[in-house]
């Protein structure tokens, strides 16, 4: 089963990388690359190095996919193909994946929605939020309270609200909360906004615990996880139905985001981020646009929260803690700011890194035995720092840059490394020489310097 996930991932990556593998240059160059990868793949297969084998396999698939399609299939169709493979994979997943993987993938779908929303706010509009967990909780509790048949609020004509109406209600309530928060956010910049939103995320669990009449306090609220709709009950189990629900909603939310970002409002988001003054001079109402970004972003988090309630069947103040809240931001930075693909990558990283990261790294004999098990955060933290240092535009950003860079420039860049290193070394040498020239041990320079130091 494990292998099958990686294989499907491989195919997915292969197709999307196959979209345009320009930097690898001519067909001949790509064929050579494929041959090298194939040899590596076989060697690893024989040696039995699990993770590395899969990695080679994926790269091999990517290059082969590209070789087969390059120069024959137009760009448009290749993108369509990649998207189609992705959709088929995600729709077929209930029959392909183990239950715990299916649950993980449901969580990924939920986090994708949060990440897309946060990316609209932080990536596209440039407002930092460390507090999106709070909006998720608001959405989740809205849904849970309305579905709770013990609660006074939840009853409409003697029955709790159907789950799908609570998703809409959660979106509205979170959106209103985001709208309200958008106003103070207008006055705060950079670090002040980050800390103010962090304060929100920290306060939310305490507030939920305190007002237990409505929220059930520290115990939280239990809801009945919605069963498959009538007619589908025979083919789908509850978990499978919930998975499809999450994925479906995530896809719809991504389409909506794509639409918003492509249109005038999306352009206005980016314009305000790039230069508020110029945006205003172009007739953009900066305040209104920033509040809109906050509202939309919180609305996304609310929808995700409502889905999370359905998925977990229980909602407590700790379901989305401050660490998760911070992780949303790191996820989109790792995945790539201002990129929908980046949000997806970030969401996968958020779920799979803690669960699979230790296993993957455990295969590398470099680390002490219990290190990866006992200190998963160390790897995650180090990875975050490394990504920011090496890929300032995130994984998606690097990918976009890679496929947009002509082959020649990358090859020049690689060739340039030794030259750059040489000039750096040369500079160190010159610095040393100069330091010597300046030093008191160097008779000539100390003479001339002391001459100047004398008082006139």
């Amino acid at each position: 089963m494990e292998m099958s996930i990686w294989l499907f991932f491989g195919l997915l990556v292969a197709c999307s990388v196959g979209v345009r593998l320009q930097p690898l240059g001519s067909v001949v160059q790509r064929a050579i690359a494929a041959a090298v990868l194939a040899v590596g793949f076989l060697v690893c297969l024989v040696l039995g190095v699990g993770f590395v084998t899969e990695l080679f396999g994926v790269l091999l698939a990517a290059v082969v996919a590209n070789l087969l399609t390059a120069d024959y299939v137009p760009q448009r169709y290749r993108i369509a193909l990649a998207v189609a493979v992705a959709v088929v994979f995600f729709l077929a997943a209930p029959w392909l994946l183990e239950n715990f993987r299916l649950f993980q993938f449901s969580r990924v779908a939920v986090w994708v929605i949060v990440a897309v929303g946060l990316n609209i706010l932080t990536g596209y509009n440039g407002q930092i939020s460390l507090g999106h967990g709070a909006f998720v909780l608001i959405g989740a509790y809205t849904s849970a309270i309305l579905m709770d048949d013990q609660s006074q609020l939840g009853f409409v004509d003697g029955a709790a609200w159907p789950f799908w109406t609570t998703i809409i209600a959660a979106a509205v309530v979170s959106g209103v909360a985001g709208f309200a928060l958008g106003f103070p956010a207008l006055r705060l910049s950079g670090p002040y906004l980050a800390i103010a939103t962090l304060a929100l995320a920290i306060s939310m669990p305490a507030i939920l615990r305190k007002y237990d009449g409505l929220t059930g306090g520290a115990q939280g609220l239990f809801v009945k996880r919605p069963p498959p709709p009538p007619g589908l009950g025979d083919v789908l189990e509850r978990d499978e139905w919930l998975y499809l629900l999450c994925v479906g909603v995530a896809i719809v939310m991504m389409l909506i985001a794509w639409g918003i970002l492509r249109g005038p409002l999306g352009r206005a988001f980016v314009a305000v981020r790039d230069s508020e003054v110029a945006a205003a001079a172009m007739g953009i109402n900066v305040a209104r646009v920033k509040i809109a970004a906050f509202t939309i972003s919180a609305l996304y988090a609310g929808v995700a929260g409502a889905l999370l309630t359905q998925l977990l069947g229980v909602m407590t103040p700790e379901s989305v803690d401050i660490v998760t809240s911070i992780n949303f931001l790191t996820a989109i930075v790792i995945g790539g700011l201002a990129s929908l693909l980046g949000a997806v990558i970030g969401a996968f990283a958020l779920v799979l890194l803690p669960s699979d990261g230790p296993d993957i790294l455990g295969e590398i004999p470099l680390f002490p035995d219990n290190f990866v098990q006992k200190a998963p955060g160390a790897i995650q933290g180090a990875l975050v720092i490394l990504v920011v240092l090496l890929m300032p535009f995130g994984v998606a950003g690097s990918y976009h840059r890679l496929i947009a860079t002509p082959a020649g420039r990358i090859i020049d860049g690689v060739k340039g490394i030794p030259a750059g290193l040489r000039s750096r070394l040369g500079q160190v040498r010159e610095d040393v020489l100069w330091a010597w020239e300046d030093s008191p041990f160097n008779r000539r320079s100390s003479e001339s310097d002391s001459g100047e130091e004398a008082d006139p």
Binding site: E437, D438, S448, E452, D455
Partner: protein, 235 residues
């Protein structure tokens, strides 16, 4: 004393200097003229080590300085009074002067230098404990020049000392600078927009346009030059 040979420099993708060659003799006063954005300030930034040139070389006293750090260059005796003064606004006048002497370790010498500079700039003595930001434009410029002199430089780089000053005030500044040049023997490389003042102050001038030297000559000759008159003197 200062020799700039074919330097090129850029800000990111924008190339600001395309091979500039300038020479400043010991004890002399040389000026760089030219329109906004021509690259005059960039030349000073390269000399003082704020910007690394991508080609060419800068020599000071026969020693190559174009890849040294800004600190090392100050220690060698070059002081840069930047455009817009760049004072430490919230710190006092005295603290600003002490920062000018940051590379020096002779506290007696520093004390006597402050006293000596108070002779040139009496207003600074009066304002000693005021924050630099509270001074008037002319006083700030005086402080910037005094701060530049505190490192006891042999070469002073001045970027638009008359910027935003009334003609009378800027005449004052130039008078002091002339004194500094004559009495202390400090060499001056001056960037100026106000061409008339600059040319009557300096002995030799270079005209910079779009990152290149287009004309160079003795000041008297430049004043007569038809192109210079039309472009920079406005008549």
């Amino acid at each position: 004393m200062l020799k700039i040979e074919g330097i090129e420099a850029s800000y990111g993708p924008v190339k600001a200097l395309h091979g500039v060659t300038i020479e400043v003799p010991e004890g002399g006063v040389v000026t760089l003229l030219g329109p906004n954005g021509a690259g005059k300030s960039t030349i000073l930034r390269v000399v003082s080590g704020l910007l690394r040139p991508t080609a060419g070389r800068v020599e000071f006293d026969g020693r190559r300085i174009d890849r040294r750090s800004a600190e090392a260059i100050v220690t060698m005796g070059i002081s840069h009074v930047p455009e817009g003064r760049q004072l430490f606004d919230e710190m006092t006048v005295h603290e600003n002067l002490m920062l000018g002497a940051y590379t020096r370790h002779d506290s007696d010498g520093i004390r006597s230098d402050i006293k000596r500079l108070n002779g040139y700039f009496p207003i600074l003595e009066e304002r000693r404990e005021q924050p630099a930001g509270s001074l008037s434009g002319g006083e700030q410029q005086q402080l910037a020049v005094a701060r530049g002199l505190m490192s006891r430089p042999r070469l002073l780089l001045l970027d638009e000392p008359s910027l935003g000053l009334a003609p009378l005030v800027s005449r004052d500044i130039f008078r002091i600078l002339r004194q500094v040049n004559r009495e202390e023997g400090i060499t001056i490389l001056l960037v100026e927009q106000d061409a008339t003042s600059a040319l009557s102050f300096a002995e030799y001038g270079y005209v910079v346009e779009t990152g290149r030297i287009v004309i160079e000559d003795a000041s008297d000759k430049l004043k007569e030059d038809e192109n210079v008159r039309r472009a920079y003197l406005g008549y």
